[in-house]
Symmetry: C2
């Protein structure tokens, strides 16, 4: 299966690389990183550059589309070449998926109309403006459209997809190979669990930026 | 703080990018990806290329060293330029760390002599041959030397480091920003939890390869 991960300036690296690490292990999977033009694409903090091997138009019909999020997603919400690529790829895909604010791009492309979907917790409200019904769940399956919450959630989503595509036993083998037995040292990974003061401080900082 | 992540042919992407996603958010952090020579470095499956911005010798004294693992680590166990860089960097670092089989490189450089350390579960025995005392714990702190288990464990380790470096409140804020509230769909992420038959099958496949 061809798996396409479109990159863009100021994407968030783990959004893309987490799911890649799982999905690339599926039997017959071929993951291709794409961009408007092939070449280097730099992440949100400017500290890491990945290579897009191909242009978007070089892989118009992947079996699985995975759109990562990041601050740069906002710059593409009216970028017709990217949105047209997503729209067309979705029409023919087996799976259309996103991590974090990648769902805003799915929404802007019209993929989420009437569907439940998720995004980074700071952008759930924005997501509602794109025809989706936002939910705070970590991985949201709506037929072939699967969205996941912020940044690290793509690993969980990719294991769900791995099970759907290659079976639960295979997904479990991948989980063991990447030793995904999480032990976060704190319990602060969602707005339900983090200190309310912390959630408020971050919301205020983002609103003021 | 300068954070150096040395890359090499056939490293495993998530080993490097998981911790990068956490550590790059620390106040004043500057993450630099290094390699023998600056330029593209391709991952273990050949599907992803990251850019090393600098040569090893361009950043001899980072505050934090993080050595990722991957199948290519085995090719470097007697690579004196890499091992000498690790050895020298460790002598001056505040933190010397590894993910997955990156610990084999720390061991080969002499960094782990007499210390408890961990690695990918398939390589714990090998690690014992490099002077370390292997343990199955996910994150192993021995003063400034911190090692973590397979692939995905680097995220947990990086949050531990974030707390040590910038305080627990800051680490919790990073955890919330990357929405690290893991929900693996299966409980198959370690040899203690996966089906014994699966563990055996993978061990036999690796032994036969």
């Amino acid at each position: 299966m061809d798996i396409a991960i479109p990159l863009y300036d100021r994407f968030t690296a783990l959004d893309a690389v987490g799911p890649y690490e799982v999905l690339s292990r599926l039997p017959g999977a071929r993951v291709t990183f794409l961009a408007r033009e092939p070449g280097p694409v730099t992440t949100d903090n400017g500290m890491l550059t990945l290579t897009a091997e191909s242009a978007l138009e070089d892989l118009p019909r992947p079996g699985l589309v995975l759109v990562p999020g990041g601050p740069g997603a906002r710059d593409l919400l009216d970028d017709e070449p990217m949105l047209a690529w997503i729209r067309d790829a979705h029409e023919h895909s087996d799976w259309t998926t996103s991590v974090c604010t990648g769902s805003l791009l799915l929404g802007a492309a019209g993929v989420l109309d009437g569907l439940e979907a998720t995004s980074h917790w700071l952008e759930l409200e924005t997501l509602g403006g794109f025809g989706a019904r936002p939910t705070g769940r970590r991985v949201v399956e709506q037929g072939k459209v699967v969205t996941s919450a912020g940044v690290s959630s793509g690993i969980d989503m990719a294991l769900v997809l791995a099970a759907r595509i290659a079976g639960e036993d295979f997904a479990k083998a991948v989980q063991l190979m990447i030793e995904y037995d999480p032990e976060p040292p704190f319990d602060s990974g969602s707005t339900d669990k983090a200190a309310p003061e912390l959630v408020r401080t971050i919301r205020e900082r983002v609103a003021g930026s």
